[in-house]
């Protein structure tokens, strides 16, 4: 594993281009585009205000930079650095901004979710979509980029509008039987749309592409419901994580639950491997210490090494019961992700924030539990193979694959608290992001023994 040097970053805005050749990062109001292999600065753009959001277009030719405070979106071109484009929403304000799948339209969500403005970079046309739903995942594009599903709310009822992305024609418009729609997501095959309700009610609805309701699923009533949803890459399974610390898997043939995954605090099954991160303080050889101590040595002295040990079953994990009278409690399954080859499902139970549970999808059983020393911030699967990268807010990055797991210390001077990471599309490298910096980590082909 090789680590690059540290570069400045702000707001954790660091993204790889879809074709994998460039890396865009933000420092305050500047956008820096680097080459992925040698991290040389290729382009440097200056925006009008502090950038809050960046996104690459699908063909990797343009980058949009959104500044919500000023209500401005600036678009930069990689081919022609002189080209500029500024979209000003003015008094309408800006809350969110994203590209359309063809890379030529920008969808801006104005303040108060008043409307969504579709700006075209090709023509002079502007379209408005009224009454969008004020929720986090209100817009969903199919994987092939042909259709867009938009959640709307009119007269205290939820609706879904399906648009054809090529000409923005409204294909279907139907209402959903939800109380307060909280999210929508397309299946990877683009034929089924999952719509789920607010956390006050456990209900998930499945609609076909032409707007017919295929099925409804509700596991229980009254208690807090769905927290996270994930489709498997083959569209065969739909994993629903809920506040009752369970993940339920629905199958695509009957849309009925085929199994439930529980996340208890004690693991007793001897067939499950439990990796526990243990600290091991480095041995200090007093003879070789120089005075004054070299910087590298000093940081090495203070940074603790860690390694994974296999714990003997039964294992009891650290369970946290949060205060019950607050809204959005930190309980339940907060993170769900399928591996790209559809073999594993990684979940995190917010009641046990230090552990990651990896389930074998073929056998529908728990496979591995990783117990970290600190709370897991983020985990992400390698886009090509079943390899999971985890960061827990300390200066280490953890990798798991079916062959084993490894804990790698990021060899940087001073504090390097990894808060987030993102994989390169080839799976050969990843970017580790901290609050103020980022670095690239290059993985060798035969990594993680």
């Amino acid at each position: 594993m090789n680590f690059s040097e540290v570069f400045k970053l702000s707001s954790l805005l660091c993204k790889f281009s879809p074709d994998g050749r460039y890396l865009a990062s933000c420092v305050q109001y500047r956008l820096i585009v680097r080459d992925v292999n040698n991290l040389q600065i290729l382009q440097l753009y200056t925006c009008l205000d502090q950038i809050q959001y960046i996104e690459w277009s699908s063909d990797s030719l343009f980058i949009l930079c959104a500044m919500y405070k000023r209500g401005i979106v600036q678009v930069w071109s990689l081919e022609q650095p002189d080209w500029h484009c500024k979209i000003d929403e003015g008094s309408a304000g800006l809350v969110a901004s994203c590209w359309s799948p063809d890379g030529r339209h920008i969808l801006n969500t104005t303040e108060f979710y008043l409307r969504i403005t579709v700006w075209s970079l090709c023509t002079k046309s502007v379209s408005y979509i009224k009454y969008p739903k004020a929720c986090q995942h209100g817009i969903a594009f199919t994987k092939d980029g042909r259709y867009m599903a938009l959640a709307e709310r009119r007269d205290c009822k939820d609706f879904i509008s399906l648009f054809v992305c090529s000409d923005w024609q409204l294909l279907r418009h139907f209402d959903t039987e939800t109380q307060d729609l909280s999210g929508i997501e397309w299946a990877p095959n683009g034929c089924v749309l999952a719509v789920w309700d607010t956390c006050l009610e456990y209900k998930i609805l499945l609609y076909s592409l032409d707007g017919r309701l295929l099925s409804t699923y509700s596991a229980y009533e009254w208690s807090l419901g769905i927290k996270s949803v994930a489709w498997s890459p083959s569209s065969q399974f739909l994993a629903i994580g809920s506040y009752d610390e369970k993940v339920r898997i629905l199958n695509h043939v009957t849309w009925k639950k085929i199994t439930e995954f529980e996340h208890p605090a004690t693991i007793a099954n001897p067939k499950i491997i439990v990796y526990k991160e243990m600290e091991k303080s480095p041995r200090v050889e007093t003879e070789s210490l120089a005075f004054p101590p070299a910087r590298a040595q000093a940081s090495a002295l203070f940074s603790t090494q860690s390694k994974y040990d296999i714990s003997q079953v039964p294992v009891s994990l650290q369970y946290i019961k949060p205060v019950a009278d607050r809204a959005n409690p930190r309980i339940g399954i907060g993170m769900l992700a399928f591996s790209p080859d559809n073999c594993f499902l990684a979940t995190k139970n917010d009641n046990i924030p230090n552990a990651i549970w990896i389930w074998d999808v073929q056998k529908l059983k728990l496979f591995v539990v990783l117990e970290q020393l600190y709370a897991v911030q983020l985990f992400q699967w390698d886009p090509r193979q079943p390899r999971l990268a985890i960061c827990t807010g300390n200066s280490k990055v953890y990798l798991w694959s079916p062959a084993g797991c490894v804990s790698v210390q990021v060899p940087m001077e001073g504090d390097f608290q990894v808060l987030s990471l993102c994989w390169h599309s080839s799976g050969d490298s990843m970017a580790l992001l901290t609050k103020d910096n980022f670095c690239m980590c290059y993985l060798e082909r035969e990594e993680v023994k």
């Binding site: 979209i87 008094s91 008043l114 700006w119 090709c122 002079k124 000409d167």
Partner: protein, 563 residues
């Protein structure tokens, strides 16, 4: 018998036949008083009896006592003591009879008394026993009563508890129900409130929207340097009905594609499952013994001829790749046939189990059941055979391996070395010889070449010499003085010896041929020069004739030749 004590002795002797009632206390005779006294006294009874006997009747009151006795006896029903004809005359016979009667009566009474006493004793003991039993039973009753009271008390307490628990449960259920109702009502309230707030919010949004739109804010604009081309390079198209229809079509195509794919997968799965079922069915059929009860079973099935028809159809369908069809009847037929086979297999297995259990118990039934010992013997034999076969196979494998891959086995290599060692050594020796011969040949070749070179040189020299000699001869023939110097100058090249000597030597040597070819002496000198033999004579000549320019070589050659 208290009469003895209360015997009434008539105080008045006159009224003799008046029956008196036994008012014993009034009419106590003095003798009875005496008797009582006698009885109370501590004197032994026998003596008292005598005195008692004499106390009743003395000589003075004989008549009185007789009349008293008579009265008593008549009242008791005995005949009178007096005779009938005369009064106051004792009828001895009747007296004796009365006495006898009295004795008999006395004996009877005694016996009765004894019996009564025995019975009395018995009754007394029975009474004691019963009293004991009664006491015990009473105790038991007491204790059981106490127990009952205790149990009742406990039962009561438990009932109380039960009731309390029921009450609690009911309370809890009520509370749950209440809470649920509360939640439901709160939910409706909340929804209602939410809707109200949302409507208000929508109104605000509308208002805001109007404001925003009305202002026609110049600021809301896009400022772009130049418009970018579309991804696919084409120009944008107008949105018409045709495009709408096309979009719909596209959407349906996508959906249908997804469905078709899924259907394909399901078909494949179905086909595989059907194949597996077919295989299972065949294997089950093969497992079962040949069916003798087929017609019976058909009748039992009840479907009878229909089933047979269906089976025939199925057989036909089988031949036509039935598993590719997916209609209802085919599926049902397959599952039914598998169930039937499974049932038959189960029955068969159960039968076998029964047979085995029966064989265990020792009873041998019919020819189907093989006796256990025979079975065991057979299995042993078979196992032995298997073992032998395995060993044979192992040995054969080993041999094969040895044959196929000799280099793998060290011992085989050694063996081969043993076998080939001799050959190898022989070969080596031959090689040595060969090499030696090669060397020799090389040497000889070299020597030949050298000799050829030398020969050439020698020939040249010889020619020169010859020429010179001839010249000399010729000249000497004509004039000796003129050519002598010339010849000497020429022969200086060839060494110290004069041509005469040379030629003479040559000739002399020529006359001693070691390996000279048979050259007729008649040939001329030129011929002899041409056929100069390669021998040591020549080398001597060469040594003398040619310059000693390569001594080493010659030495080597000499050496080689001498070897």
């Amino acid at each position: 018998m208290g009469d003895w004590k209360t015997i009434t002795v008539p105080a008045l002797s006159s009224a003799s036949k008046i029956p008196y009632q036994n008012t014993s206390e009034k009419k106590m005779s003095p003798s009875s008083l005496n008797m009582q006294q006698v009885l109370r006294s501590p004197l032994p009874l026998s003596k008292s009896m005598h005195s008692f006997f004499s106390a009743f009747c003395t000589e003075e009151n004989v008549e009185q006592s007789i009349s008293y006795l008579n009265r008593e006896l008549t009242t008791l029903g005995f005949p009178s003591l007096y005779s009938e004809c005369k009064d106051k005359e004792l009828n001895v016979v009747s007296v004796l009879n009365c006495m006898n009667e009295l004795l008999v009566l006395q004996r009877k009474n005694l016996r009765a008394q004894e019996e009564v006493e025995i019975q009395h004793l018995k009754l007394g003991s029975d009474m004691d026993h019963l009293q004991n039993c009664y006491a015990k039973v009473k105790e038991q009753l007491e204790t059981s009563r106490r127990e009952i009271v205790g149990l009742q008390e406990r039962d009561r307490q438990q009932q109380c508890k039960n009731r309390n628990l029921h009450q609690l449960l009911k309370n809890e259920k009520d509370e749950v129900q209440k809470l649920q109702n509360i939640i439901a009502s709160r939910a409706t309230q909340y929804n209602h409130d939410m809707k109200r707030k949302e409507r208000e919010y929508n109104k605000l949004k509308e208002r805001l929207h109007q404001l925003v739109m009305n202002k026609k804010d110049k600021k809301i604009a896009m400022d772009v340097l130049n418009y970018v081309g579309r991804v696919d390079g084409k120009r944008g198209a107008w949105r018409t009905g045709k495009t709408e229809a096309r979009n719909e079509e596209e959407m349906y195509k996508v959906l249908l594609g997804g469905y078709e794919q899924r259907q394909k997968q399901l078909l494949v799965e179905n086909a595989e499952l059907k194949k597996v079922l077919q295989q299972m069915k065949k294997e089950m059929i093969s497992l079962l013994p040949p069916q003798k009860q087929k017609p019976k079973e058909r009748a039992e099935d009840g479907i009878g001829p229909v089933l047979s028809d269906m089976e025939e159809d199925a057989v036909e369908l089988n031949k036509e790749n039935m598993w590719e069809l997916s209609c209802e009847t085919v599926r049902e037929q397959l599952t039914n046939s598998i169930r039937k086979q499974w049932r038959m297999l189960k029955n068969h297995v159960e039968k076998l189990d029964n047979q085995v259990s029966r064989a265990h118990s020792g009873a041998l039934n019919g020819s189907d059941v093989i006796s256990r010992e025979d079975h065991e013997l057979e299995t042993e034999k078979l196992e032995l055979e298997i073992q032998q076969c395995k060993e044979m196979i192992k040995t054969q494998q080993q041999l094969l391996q040895q044959l196929m891959s000799p280099c793998d086995d060290d011992t085989s290599m050694l063996l081969q070395d043993c076998y080939l060692l001799e050959e190898r050594e022989r070969l080596q020796e031959e090689w040595k010889l060969f090499r030696e011969q090669k060397k020799n040949f090389e040497r000889e070749r070299r020597s030949f070449t050298e000799a050829a070179i030398r020969l050439g040189l020698e020939r040249k020299a010889f020619e020169e010499d010859r020429g010179a000699w001839l010249k000399q001869q010729f000249l000497s023939m004509t004039s000796d003085h003129k050519n002598s110097e010339h010849v000497k100058s020429q022969s200086a090249y060839s060494g110290s010896s004069d041509p005469d000597n040379q030629l003479m030597n040559f000739r002399s040597r020529q006359k001693k041929p070691h390996c000279l070819p048979s050259v007729p002496p008649s040939e001329e000198l030129c011929q002899t020069i041409q056929h100069i033999p390669h021998n040591s004579n020549l080398s001597v000549v060469l040594n003398k004739t040619t310059e000693d320019s390569k001594p080493k070589q010659w030495k080597g050659l000499n050496k080689a030749e001498t070897e």
